[in-house]
């Protein structure tokens, strides 16, 4: 199960990295082959402008994974920093940050990202910003809880008693112990962000054409559902396989690195 999931993730990562090879095919319009159905030699068929669906899928993989990694990295750093400050200092900073977190959690799902991405206008940069605005909260909550628990550990009391400077305490004695849970959270977040980015593109609020985002491919394919269902099926299957694989990977990591997070 875990090996299969890892293989699927690696496959998409490889295809995403190889995307430059498909860049020209992804935009090459061939009006003679409009809506060509999949066949053995061409699994994914051609789209409504006769472009290769496979090439667009691979270029879309780069886009999707690129944005998702960017969002998760940024939210992880930002959220961990904010959560660690709240957990470490407690008192008023903790109270303020706690209230801000509550406010962000009051927006269900990707509603806040929809509003932000919609109002800021489309584009990869704005989508990333909108998703970070939603994504940092999870890391902040995790980091706060972890720091709060770690602060009481003996090795930190010793470090403090020995007069270790604060940055060194955090870098050497807190961060390594938080790394496992954070990595698990980041992997789950990766799956969630891939879905959210595709969702924004599906709503027309993400990366704009001709850039082939998976969500936009599903949206465009909906118009041809009756005559060319492969335009919807292919990106749907791609997205499902990637999201399932990343989630399975996160599950496996959790069992290994942070079994305590199971009910969190």
């Amino acid at each position: 199960m875990n090996k299969a999931a890892g293989a699927v993730c690696l496959l998409w990562l490889g295809l995403g990295l190889a995307a430059p090879l498909f860049d020209s095919a992804a935009v090459m319009i061939d009006l003679g082959r409009i809506l060509e159905a999949p066949r053995v030699a061409n699994w994914c068929g051609q789209d409504d402008l006769g472009r290769s669906v496979a090439a667009r899928l691979f270029v879309g993989a780069r886009l999707s994974l690129g944005i998702a990694c960017g969002v998760v990295l940024t939210s992880a750093v930002l959220g961990t920093l904010i959560g660690a400050v709240a957990g470490w200092f407690g008192g008023i900073p903790d109270l303020l940050i706690g209230r801000v977190v509550e406010v962000f959690l009051a927006f269900p799902g990707i509603l806040l990202a929809i509003a932000l991405a919609g109002l800021m206008g489309p584009g990869a940069g704005n989508v990333t910003l909108a998703l970070v605005a939603v994504g940092w909260v999870g890391f902040a909550r995790l980091a706060r809880a972890q720091v709060l628990a770690l602060r009481q550990r003996e090795h930190l009391m010793v470090a403090r008693a020995l007069g270790t400077p604060l940055p060194r305490q955090l870098a050497r004695h807190v961060l390594p112990l938080m790394a496992g849970p954070l990595l698990v959270e980041a992997t789950f977040a990766l799956a969630a962000v891939i879905v959210a980015e595709a969702g924004l593109s599906f709503l027309g609020l993400g990366v704009q054409p001709p850039a082939p985002s998976w969500g936009a491919m599903i949206r465009d394919g909906m118009r041809y559902l009756l005559i060319a269902p492969h335009l919807v099926l292919v990106p749907c299957i791609a997205l499902m396989s990637l999201v399932l694989a990343v989630n399975a990977l996160a599950d496996g990591l959790r069992e290994r690195l942070a079994p305590s997070l199971r009910h969190g």
């Binding site: 009051a106 927006f107 509003a115 800021m120 595709a198 919807v232 749907c236 399932l244």
Partner: protein, 312 residues
């Protein structure tokens, strides 16, 4: 802590959160890079249009005054007028909200009617074939975004089988697919939560005692165990209502369902800021209110919580 002070503390927290949400929603329009009025008018607006629209949005006043006016409007349920149609935003939201409620209610019904029985079945025969299959299906269903499940359901039930219409809300059958799309992933999660909660409760001594008294297994599970497990299940439903409301936005776009989500997306395309602000504020407030209600139900169901101890 007494019951009353627990109640006031909870209500105060919700009020503070809604105030924060309203503030964030107010600032949305100010967070847009560049001038929102210029963006909304496009290239063809005259300077008179520009001044007029700034005045209509209240952007010509100091920020603090705008903020107070916005919050004051929220209290009076006056969310301004739509830039596109000139109609009051509150009225527009009200019309669409009913449709979203219908969709969310139907999805919730599907989720409860399928998720809880499936979870009970899995918990009773723990580790069996049924348990393992259902948990694999549940994981898959939870990974399935609405905009993937929706088109797949359309493909099978509307295009191939022709049982229901593809989209819209003209006849009763058109509710089925959107409700299924929104309800299935929630059913999967509910099944897992029900299973987890029941498995834990079924190991408690009072269950052994009930069995020892010779009660029928169905009575033990349904009356004794399920009643005790209802708190975590209720929590799961409350948390999922958020996903339901957020997911409704996307699902409505898939099926052209004329609800809040559709209104919100249209307003975003038209740069109709007051409608966007009102829609986001309404959805978030409903979510906060529902979760407050569920917490208040806890207080009523489980007296330990008012004393500051969480129910396990």
């Amino acid at each position: 802590m007494s019951y009353l002070s627990a109640l006031t503390a909870r209500l105060g927290l919700s009020f503070a959160v809604i105030l924060g949400v309203a503030t964030l929603v107010f600032f949305l329009i100010h967070l847009i890079p560049g001038d929102p009025v210029l963006v909304a008018l496009g290239e063809y607006g005259s300077s008179a249009d520009y001044a007029g629209m700034r005045a209509r949005l209240g952007l010509d006043r100091p920020l603090l005054a705008q903020w107070i006016a916005f919050l004051g409007g929220v209290v009076r349920l006056d969310l301004g007028t739509s830039l596109a149609s000139g109609a009051p935003v509150a009225g527009l939201l009200g019309d669409c909200f009913t449709m979203t409620l219908v969709l969310a209610g139907a999805s919730l019904a599907i989720a409860i009617a399928t998720g809880i029985p499936l979870g009970i079945a899995a918990a009773v025969r723990r580790g069996g074939l049924w348990d393992r299959c259902s948990s694999a299906v549940a994981v898959a269903a939870m990974s399935l975004p609405n905009f993937v499940l929706g088109p797949l359901l359309i493909l099978v039930f509307a295009v191939s089988l022709r049982w229901v219409p593809v989209s819209g809300a003209e006849d009763a059958g058109s509710l089925i697919l959107p409700a299924l799309t929104l309800g299935l992933s929630m059913a999967a999660l509910l099944a897992r939560m029900t299973r987890a909660a029941l498995v834990e409760v079924l190991q408690e001594p009072f269950i052994v005692a009930a069995r020892a008294r010779g009660l029928a297994e169905s009575r033990v599970v349904l009356r004794h165990a399920l009643a005790t497990a209802s708190l975590p299940i209720l929590t799961a439903i409350g948390l999922q209502l958020g996903a339901l409301l957020g997911g409704a936005v996307v699902t409505e776009a898939v099926f052209d369902w004329p609800g809040l989500g559709q209104l919100l997306i249209d307003a975003i395309y038209r740069r109709d800021y007051p409608v966007v602000q009102g829609g986001v504020l309404l959805i978030a407030s409903v979510y906060v209110l529902v979760n407050t209600l569920i917490d208040l139900m806890y207080l009523a169901i489980d007296p330990r919580i008012a004393q500051g101890r969480r129910a396990g």
